[in-house]
């Protein structure tokens, strides 16, 4: 078994009086698609925002390749090779595709010490990525706000690819997509894992999860209640883990 790329230990997150996450332990391995499942409000988005450097954890620690890290900002997480596609996508609707893909880490050349954008290079790179994704966008200069849901998802994925990330996190990437676009995104998650990238996928669609995931982790009320290899579980068991009907979850929730 390969060594984990990222280890989360005892992660907790409190928003004032509300405990959104408690005691989460998780290992994320390269080349593996890990699916994060759970009801609304289970804490999935909060957990990945901690991995992405968007929230500091209230407790616990993160290790990348065995070394403890503390992210002060999404930029820090990106520098450690973590790319996140947030549920709300975090794209700037008023900017073009290339501008969005490179936002926050633009290609630039220095003239008299002033950084100027290398716009042609950025555009070229993005055209290549879009082609690789098989995404057809008629006007790459149009603002992202004028694109369809699937096209925006493609832009967000380009952003992650462009980072050459070691870990790509996708929060419900297929929720707003049509069937054909969903297929493309799922194929892409497999391709990313095939390249040796670690992938964390959040989804509400259990059949979709079984299609692509190697490992399934279930969150419930801010806690990790189960972890299974996809090959060793089934649809019904996963549903009962999510709803809390599974005996393991009941036993766990009785002790808390």
């Amino acid at each position: 078994m390969t060594a984990p790329f990222l280890v989360a230990r005892n992660i907790a997150k409190r928003f004032g009086a509300l405990t959104a996450l408690a005691d989460v332990d998780l290992e994320i391995r390269p080349g593996e698609v890990l699916a994060l499942l759970g009801d609304n409000g289970a804490g999935k988005s909060t957990f990945i925002k901690i991995l992405a450097g968007a929230h500091p954890p209230s407790d616990g620690e993160l290790l990348i390749e065995g070394k403890a890290v503390a992210f002060a900002s999404p930029k820090d997480a990106a520098a450690s090779g973590i790319a996140t596609i947030f549920q709300e996508l975090a794209l700037s609707e008023n900017l073009s595709i290339a501008e969005n893909v490179f936002l926050g880490r633009e290609l630039k050349r220095s003239i008299f010490g002033i950084p100027f954008l290398k716009r042609a290079e950025m555009r070229q790179r993005v055209d290549g990525l879009l082609q690789e994704l098989d995404a057809h966008i008629s006007d790459p200069e149009a603002p992202v706000g004028s694109l369809s849901g699937g096209q925006r998802q493609a832009v967000a994925i380009c952003r992650a690819l462009n980072l050459n990330a070691r870990l790509v996190i996708m929060d419900e990437p297929t929720a707003a997509l049509a069937v054909a676009e969903t297929r493309k995104v799922l194929a892409l998650t497999r391709r990313l894992a095939g390249r040796g990238c670690a992938v964390v996928l959040i989804s509400h669609n259990i059949s979709e999860v079984f299609e692509v995931a190697d490992r399934i982790v279930v969150f419930r009320r801010g806690r990790k209640v189960a972890e299974r290899l996809a090959a060793e579980t089934n649809h019904e068991e996963v549903v009962s883990l999510i709803t809390g009907a599974h005996p393991d979850v009941r036993a766990l929730e009785k002790t808390n």
Partner: protein, 328 residues
Amino acid sequence: MSAVRQSGSGVFSMNGREWSLLVACLLAIAIFSVASPHYATPGNAVTVLRNSVELLLIGLGMTLLLAMGGIDVSIGIVMGLAAIAIGRIVGADGSPFVALVAGPLVGALLGCVTAAVVVLGRVPAIVGTLGLLGVYRTAVFALLGGQWLSGLPSSLTDLLATTVLGIPVPALVIAVAYLTVWLALRRTPYGLHLLAIGNSEEKARLSGIPVIKVRFLTFVISGVLTGIAATFYVATYRNVEMSIGSTSALDAIAAVILGGTSILGGRCSLLGTVLGVLLLRILQNGLLLIGVPSLWQPVVTGVLVIGVLGFEAVSNRLPLTRFQRARA
């Protein structure tokens, strides 16, 4: 769709809004020329341009602020404070070159103060700058002691009334300021970050943009431009009156909004701001010449702002063009 695209556009390429403004300027000139025999003279044209200098500089900064989702209603009084510093230096027969440095320097310092309150202190820009407006008003009163700074020597005036390669210094300074701001906005990461913040501060943060740094810097840039405006103010009028800059914020915000910059942030037009300033000054000058008392000028400006925003709201322009950026 062509107005949406901007990346390939040049410094002076124009969109629909900008053409409309140009037509409005020409129309106003035509009407005033018929209405008043004193209007269409070279002397009056120079007056209108002369009157536009300070507002053009302040307007460039205000464009950046609004594009970022910010605002500064204290900008006129910031010009006042900078003008007092310049006036004191000129009045004490100090070197006009020292006076030249004083304006941008005081502007930058006050920009830092504004940024400290609004950006570091997380006070909403409209409230924070309104508070500073109150503080600075009193500071101006205290510094001037209830009296105008008047009858200043002409050293600074003489220095700025010269031409370089046949171009008047004010025109040159404005050209350089416009080009610099345009490059910063459209050709550097800073401009991209500013527009992303104007679209959504939270998304900008998630994208790894140094939001606080960009916002801070923008208030400082606006302060510097305002300090330069103060320099031209003192050079032109050779006095600093108690009411200095009292209409500058309204005028600047009006011109910027007329120019097509979104009050919600994320979209702006520098060329629109320039045309907005000219339209405003043409109207104010023309109305004066046909006998409308100057008391009515803020009324005209206010009605224009409300009219433009009302029209945009009614024609659903706001939600639609939130995603669109006009060319600078």
